[in-house]
């Protein structure tokens, strides 16, 4: 009897641990290298720091960000126009980054990252 009970416990433990993952898909344009000399982009630019967000160079409260980016993207009709360039500072946390990119996607924007070439990637 105890054998059966033990096997049942193991069975339910294994079943409980196999839970399907949930998440958010993100449409990311294929990466390409661009020179700094390229013509000035007309797409909205979002800069994310550890706890602040800048929209086209102006600081925006994170709770107001969704409304502001919605207004900005409302007049954009083509997919290319709805691309939002996201720059992050090295110390931007993933949780904050997800929150802001969530808002951009809710507003109908397509997130594209702009990475700096000179950035050093720390490897422990």
């Amino acid at each position: 009897m105890s054998d059966i009970a033990f096997i049942l416990i193991v069975f339910f433990l294994v079943c409980a641990s196999i839970q399907p993952d949930k998440g958010r898909s993100q449409q990311i344009p294929r990466s390409e290298e661009k020179d700094q000399k390229d013509e000035q982009s007309q797409n909205p630019e979002v800069k994310i720091t550890r706890d602040r967000v800048f929209l086209n160079g102006n600081i925006v409260k994170s709770e107001d960000f969704l409304a502001r980016i919605r207004i900005l993207l409302a007049e954009k009709t083509t997919e290319a126009d709805r691309v939002v360039v996201v720059k992050s500072r090295e110390d931007t946390t993933y949780a904050f980054w997800i929150k802001i990119t969530d808002y951009i996607e809710q507003a109908g924007g397509i997130v594209t990252l702009q990475l700096e070439e000179e950035r050093e990637v720390k490897i422990d």
Binding site: D3, P20, G23, S25, Q26, I28, R30, T93, D102
Partner: protein, 134 residues
């Protein structure tokens, strides 16, 4: 005088057979899971909108120590694009899903190069997150 041979009957205990098969099944299930990334420690970031993640060939994890893993194996960020390309191969669009599991406190210097690598190989990125409860 002829001594009659004793006949021993060898029988398979059919009742125990089921138990053994079931234990073997569980053993292999656990063994298979030990090769994925379930042993890695990370806490998902929270979001309000969540979808069911699709089946994926590749999963990238950034754990609490900011180490990067591809399908459970530690990997350098510089090699990630090459390895992802090898895994995804010529899979058609829709079957190039890459699950990204990043610890919520990891910083951009660790997770942005991963997103760039996925973008480079044309992967469909899915951020694994947790439902935000008000």
């Amino acid at each position: 005088m002829k001594i009659p041979r004793k006949k021993y009957e060898a029988s398979v205990p059919s009742m125990a057979m089921g138990d053994i098969a079931f234990l073997l099944l569980i053993f292999f299930v656990i063994l298979a899971r030990a090769q994925d990334d379930s042993h890695l420690q990370w806490q998902p970031a929270k979001t309000e909108l969540l979808d069911q993640a699709k089946f994926s060939k590749a999963g990238v994890v950034v754990d609490v120590d900011n180490k990067t893993y591809l399908n459970g194996q530690e990997i350098g960020v510089g090699q990630l694009a090459v390895e992802l390309d090898a895994i995804l191969g010529d899979a058609p669009v829709g079957e190039r899903t890459v699950l990204l599991k990043v610890h919520k406190d990891a910083t951009a210097v660790y997770f942005e190069p991963i997103i760039e690598a996925v973008s480079e190989v044309g992967g469909d990125l899915i951020h694994i997150l947790e439902k935000h409860h008000e």
